[in-house]
Amino acid sequence: MMHHATELELQAYADNELSAAESGRIAQILKDDPEALVVFEEIKFAKSLLAVGELEATTPASRQFYWSKIERAIASKNSDIRANSLNPFKRPWLRFGLPAAAAALIILLIALLNRPSVEPPAVAGYFHEIDAPLAEEDAISFHSESAAMTIVWVDSRGY
């Protein structure tokens, strides 16, 4: 009994779907194997029958009746397209652009609200807690919020 793969190769040979090398191999099989020849002839028989062509069929509906459904559908689709073009929210770039712009705005607001303070809180706190024990001494002090530093000049000449 012939292997199914060989049957399919015989068919591919009949359909000109094989390479030159494969075709040569199948041609040799057909010479050597009478069973392969029977299968091949059967394939050719079916092909020759179908080569006669198809039964011609005509639409049962009249030209006008057949066309009327198509025409209605086209008119409906055309009016949809017109309506979409007049409605700005149905435009694709707006449909996707508006939500994207809203999302970008929200992200920007969140970022602004969470912006870190200019003055580093830890350093600022440290200097605010400084008591000035030298206030009654002969001293001059300078404090810079922006540079987060305090400089004290003490005149020790009095001691």
Partner: protein, 200 residues
């Protein structure tokens, strides 16, 4: 705007161009010229007049919407035939999901045919009227499962290669080859009496 009566004399390329520019009357002329061919392909696949009418009309509507995608690589009617084939395949898949597989499909391997057929005259049709023969072939095609019939139609009548059939039917090339083989075997079996009758 072209007078409606003038469309009949226009070349197909001009009609397609006009239709692409939105001229519905030009499109109607294209429908009138090719509706039977598109319907025939749908009917050969669906085997039902009403469904074939619906499928072919749907193909024309899709064709109108996709006219901008038609670049003239193939003829207009070939392009539209591909659309109707795809629609029919979708519909057949839908139907298949809703019903049990046919007996023929379950029996795909055997094809319901004896393994060894007699050697046939490769040209058995010479003395038969073509129209009669076509009717008998059509009846035989009607007895195949839709998978077998479709693969035969696409290969023999639409002249598609195995690869393209596989792509359209959503299966492997091996499956296409196997279906084609058993479909041919079944057709050969169903029409094996032709030679005998021919000799009467």
């Amino acid at each position: 705007m072209t007078a409606r009566s003038d469309y009949g004399g226009m070349l197909e390329e001009a009609l397609v161009k006009a239709a692409r520019d939105g001229d519905v009357d030009a499109f109607e002329e294209l429908v009138a010229r090719h509706k039977d061919k598109i319907f025939a392909r749908a009917y050969s696949m669906m085997r039902n007049e009403d469904l074939a009418t619906d499928m072919s009309q749907e193909a024309w509507i899709k064709g109108w919407q996709r006219l901008s995608q038609f670049h003239g690589d193939a003829s207009f009617v070939t392009w539209l035939t591909r659309i109707v084939i795809n629609l029919c395949l979708d519909e057949l898949r839908k139907q298949k999901r809703n019903r049990a597989d046919s007996i023929e499909l379950l029996d795909e391997k055997s094809g319901g045919v004896e393994r060894h057929m007699p050697v046939h005259d490769p040209n058995p049709t010479e003395r038969l009227e073509r129209a009669e023969l076509r009717q008998r072939i059509d009846r035989a095609l009607g007895q195949l499962s839709f998978e077998h019939r479709t693969v035969l139609i696409l290969h023999e009548f639409e002249e598609m290669e195995y690869k393209e059939i596989a792509k359209r039917m959503g299966c492997s090339i091996g499956t296409v080859m196997s279906r084609l083989f058993y479909a041919r075997r079944r057709i050969a079996s169903l029409l094996s009496g032709l030679k005998r009758e021919e000799l009467r």
